[in-house]
C-alpha cells in the first residue's frame, strides 16, 4: 500500500470510530451525507496530479502524512493573542476557532437583528437542525475535489450564518481560524454555511491564521446561498504559517439579481489551494471575484475559480494577481462556463502575474467554455517582470533600487487590495503585504 493510501485508510478508520458518537449528536440526514461523503473519499482518495483539476498541485505532502485529530480549543490561544490578528477598528460579529474547534470564550456575537443567526455550526445542528436540513451540503460538490468529500465526512464544527429576507447585517461576521503549533500536526475540517435570504445583505470574513510553526492541515468548505436580490461580500484571508497546509472550497449559488463578491487573499501556507465556484442561476446575477496570491520561499499557492453562467443576462468580473518571489510557485486556473441558453451574458477575467525571481514560477490558464452565441467574454493572462522604465524613473528620484522595486510590487498587488470595500481589512492587508517586502521598513510610511 502506498503512503498515500495508508493515510486515507487511517482517516476512514477514524470515521468508523467516531460514527457512533456522531449518530447520537447529529441529525440522521446529515449522517447520511457523511456516510456518502466518506464513500466518495474512500473511492477517490486524495486528488492525483493526473486529475485535470490537480495537474499543477501535487498534494502528496498532505496525503503522505497522518494528521492527528484536533483536540478541544482549550487555552492554546488566549484573548491577548487575538490582537495580532485584529482587523483594526472593525466592529465584528466574531467567531473564533482553534484548530477547527470553536472557542466560545474568544468569540463575541452580540445582539443580532431580527431572526439573524450567527452560530457555531455544531451547536446549530443540535439546536435547530431543521434550519439546516436540505440546505447544508446541497451547494458543495465533490466533482472537482475529493477534499470536499473529506470535509463533509468529518463535518462537526464551523459556522452557520443565516440572514432572513430583507435583512441587512450591519457588522461584518468574522470567522477566525487559528492554527496552533502542535507537537503532532492536526487536521481540521471547518464547515461554513451562509445563507442570505431575498434582498438580504451580509459580509463574511474567513480569516485563516497560523502560529509561526503550525504545520497543521486545514481542509475547509464553505457554502453560500445568495437568494434573489441578496448581496454577499465574502473574504478569505489566508495567512497560515509557512509550514501550514490549507485546502479550501467555496461553493456559491446565486439567485436572480443577486450579487456575490469574493476577495480571496493568499499570503500564507506551505501548500495552499482554494477553489471558488459560483453558479449564476438566474437573470441579472452578478459575481465579482477578486484575488491575490503571493508565494515566496518555498510556498505553493493554487487558485481554481469556476464561474458558471447558467442563466441569461448574468455578468461576472474576475481580477486575480500573483506576485511570485523566491522559489514561490503559483497556479491560477479560471474557468468560465456559459450554458447554451445563457444569452446576453458578460464575463471578464484577467490574471496578471509578477515574477520577481528566476526561481519563481506560475502557471496561469483561463478556460472559457461557451455554449451560447450572444455573449461578451474577455480574458487575459500575463506573466511579467517589474517595468524597467518605472524602476529607472524612481531611481532618478533618489529612490534606492530596493525601495523602488518594493514600491512597484506593492502597487501591483494593491490593484487587488484596493478593491476591498472594508477599509480596516484593506489597511491590514496592505500592511501585511508591505511586511513581506524586503525593504519594508521604509515602505511602511507610504501605505
Amino acid at each position: 500500500m502506498s503512503a498515500k493510501q495508508e493515510s486515507r485508510a487511517v482517516y476512514l478508520e477514524r470515521f468508523e470510530a467516531d460514527r457512533a458518537a456522531w449518530t447520537e449528536a447529529l441529525p440522521e440526514w446529515l449522517m447520511e451525507k457523511k456516510r456518502a461523503a466518506a464513500e466518495v473519499f474512500a473511492g477517490a482518495g486524495f486528488p492525483d496530479p493526473r486529475h485535470e483539476e490537480w495537474k499543477y498541485t501535487n498534494v502528496r505532502p498532505i496525503a503522505r502524512k497522518v494528521f492527528q485529530p484536533a483536540g478541544e480549543a482549550g487555552t492554546r490561544v488566549a484573548p491577548p493573542d487575538l490582537l495580532e490578528w485584529s482587523l483594526g477598528e472593525l466592529d465584528l460579529i466574531d467567531l473564533v476557532f482553534v484548530n477547527g474547534r470553536f472557542a466560545p470564550e474568544l468569540s463575541s456575537v452580540g445582539d443580532l437583528p431580527g431572526d439573524v443567526q450567527v452560530r457555531e455550526l455544531g451547536e446549530a445542528l443540535r439546536e435547530m437542525p431543521e434550519r439546516l436540513e436540505n440546505r447544508l451540503g446541497e451547494i458543495a460538490t465533490f466533482e472537482h475535489s475529493s477534499f470536499a468529500a473529506f470535509n463533509t465526512a468529518f463535518v462537526e464544527q464551523g459556522a452557520f450564518i443565516d440572514v432572513p429576507a430583507e435583512t441587512k447585517v450591519d457588522k461584518p461576521v468574522r470567522l477566525l481560524f487559528v492554527s496552533t503549533a502542535e507537537p503532532e500536526p492536526v487536521v481540521c475540517h471547518p464547515r461554513v454555511f451562509v445563507s442570505a435570504g431575498m434582498g438580504a445583505m451580509v459580509e463574511v470574513i474567513e480569516q485563516y491564521v497560523g502560529q509561526p510553526e503550525a504545520a497543521n492541515f486545514t481542509n475547509a468548505v464553505t457554502e453560500i446561498d445568495v437568494a434573489d436580490n441578496a448581496r454577499v461580500e465574502h473574504y478569505r484571508i489566508q495567512r497560515e504559517s509557512h509550514r501550514g497546509y490549507h485546502v479550501a472550497g467555496v461553493h456559491v449559488n446565486q439567485g436572480r439579481g443577486s450579487q456575490f463578491a469574493s476577495h480571496n487573499i493568499n499570503l500564507g501556507g506551505r501548500l495552499a489551494r482554494a477553489d471558488i465556484n459560483t453558479r449564476l442561476g438566474a437573470e441579472d446575477a452578478h459575481a465579482f471575484l477578486n484575488g491575490l496570491f503571493m508565494p515566496t520561499g518555498r510556498q505553493h499557492m493554487d487558485t481554481h475559480t469556476r464561474i458558471h453562467h447558467a442563466a441569461p443576462h448574468t455578468t461576472s468580473e474576475e481580477v486575480y494577481r500573483g506576485v511570485l518571489s523566491g522559489h514561490g510557485r503559483g497556479v491560477f486556473k479560471g474557468r468560465v462556463l456559459v450554458a447554451q441558453d445563457a444569452q446576453k451574458i458578460e464575463a471578464h477575467q484577467s490574471n496578471d502575474n509578477l515574477l520577481l525571481s528566476r526561481d519563481a514560477e506560475v502557471d496561469t490558464k483561463p478556460e472559457l467554455e461557451i455554449y451560447a452565441d450572444d455573449v461578451v467574454c474577455s480574458h487575459g493572462a500575463t506573466v511579467g517582470q517589474l517595468d524597467e522604465d518605472a524602476l529607472y524613473y524612481l531611481q532618478t528620484r533618489a529612490i534606492n533600487p530596493e525601495l523602488a522595486q518594493d514600491l512597484l510590487t506593492f502597487a501591483f498587488a494593491d490593484e487587488v487590495v484596493a478593491r476591498i470595500p472594508l477599509k480596516p481589512v484593506r489597511e491590514q492587508l496592505e500592511q501585511g503585504i508591505v511586511g513581506r517586502l524586503p525593504d519594508n521598513e521604509k515602505l511602511k510610511e507610504f501605505v
Binding site: L394, I399, L407
Partner: protein
C-alpha cells in the same frame, strides 16, 4: 570648481554610436541651453548623465562636483544633486505622486544626515510648491503621471524639482506640449530655482523656452557633437535662420 565637466564623451545605444565626443564645462550658477535638430543626441546625453542602463559610454569621462559621475549608481547621482526632468515622464500606476515626492525628499534628507520629514511639515512644503506650479492638490493622490496630459506631466517634473532642489537640473524638452500659460508657469518654476550654487541645463529643440529662461550659454548639438557654442544671441539666430547654416559652417 566646475559643476559638470564632460570630456570626449562617446556613447552608444544598441551598438549604435550616438554621442561622438562631447566636451562641455558647466560652472555653478550658470544656465546652459543645448539645442539641436531632432535625433542629434540631446536626450541621449541627458539619459547618459542620469545613468540610464543600455546607454553605454564607450569613451570619455564626466565629473560632477569633481567626482566620477559615470561610476555612480542612478540613485547616487540623484542623491548627489543631479536631476533630470524627462522628455517623456514615466507613468507609474498605483504609486501615488505624493509617495514619490516624500520618498525622494526623505532620501535626500537621509543623505544629509537629517531625520525624516514630519508629515505635516511635508504637506505644507508640497502645498507651497503645488501653488507655484499652479497644480491642484488632487495630483498628489493620483498615480505618478498616470493619465496626466502632456502639460501636466511637465509640470509634475518641475514640481519634483522644486521639492528635490538639485544642484544640477537638466530639463529635456520641458517646453514641448505646453501652451503659453503653462509655459509661463513652468518657466517661473525653473527660474525660481536659479541660484549661485545651482546650474541648469535646458535641452530643447526650439528657442521658445529661452525667452522665459535666459541662458548664459547656448550649444548646438549635431550628430553627437557640440558643433557651435555661443551666448543667448546664438539661440535667436538659430530661431531666425534655422540649423542648416550652423551645420554647413561646421562641415566647412
Amino acid at each position: 570648481m566646475s559643476m559638470l565637466s564632460i570630456k570626449d564623451l562617446h556613447a552608444e545605444v544598441d551598438g549604435k554610436p550616438i554621442l561622438k565626443g562631447i566636451d562641455l564645462e558647466i560652472n555653478p550658477g550658470e544656465v546652459h541651453a543645448i539645442m539641436g535638430p531632432n535625433g542629434s543626441g540631446k536626450s541621449t546625453l541627458s539619459q547618459v548623465l542620469a545613468g540610464r542602463e543600455g546607454f553605454e559610454v564607450t569613451r570619455g569621462e564626466v565629473r560632477f562636483g569633481g567626482e566620477d559621475l559615470l561610476d555612480m549608481d542612478i540613485d547616487e547621482r540623484a542623491l548627489a544633486g543631479l536631476m533630470l526632468a524627462f522628455q517623456y515622464p514615466v507613468e507609474i500606476p498605483g504609486v501615488k505622486n505624493v509617495y514619490l515626492l516624500k520618498a525622494a525628499y526623505n532620501a535626500l534628507r537621509e543623505k544629509r544626515g537629517e531625520p525624516e520629514v514630519d508629515a505635516f511639515e511635508f504637506l505644507q512644503l508640497v502645498r507651497e510648491k503645488l501653488r507655484i506650479m499652479d497644480m491642484d492638490e488632487s495630483f498628489l493622490h493620483r498615480g505618478v503621471n498616470e493619465g496626466f496630459s502632456g502639460g501636466e506631466k511637465k509640470r509634475n517634473e518641475i514640481l519634483q524639482m522644486l521639492i528635490m532642489e538639485p544642484r544640477l537640473a537638466i530639463l529635456d524638452e520641458t517646453d514641448s506640449g505646453l501652451d503659453i500659460d503653462a509655459l509661463k508657469v513652468v518657466s517661473d518654476g525653473v527660474n525660481s530655482l536659479r541660484a549661485e550654487d545651482r546650474s541648469i541645463v535646458m535641452v530643447t529643440h526650439y528657442q521658445r523656452l529661452l525667452n522665459y529662461i535666459e541662458p548664459d550659454f547656448v550649444h548646438v548639438l549635431s550628430d553627437g557633437r557640440i558643433i557651435k557654442s555661443g551666448d543667448k544671441s546664438l539661440a535667436l539666430e538659430l530661431e531666425e535662420r534655422g540649423y542648416q547654416w550652423v551645420l554647413e559652417e561646421a562641415a566647412a
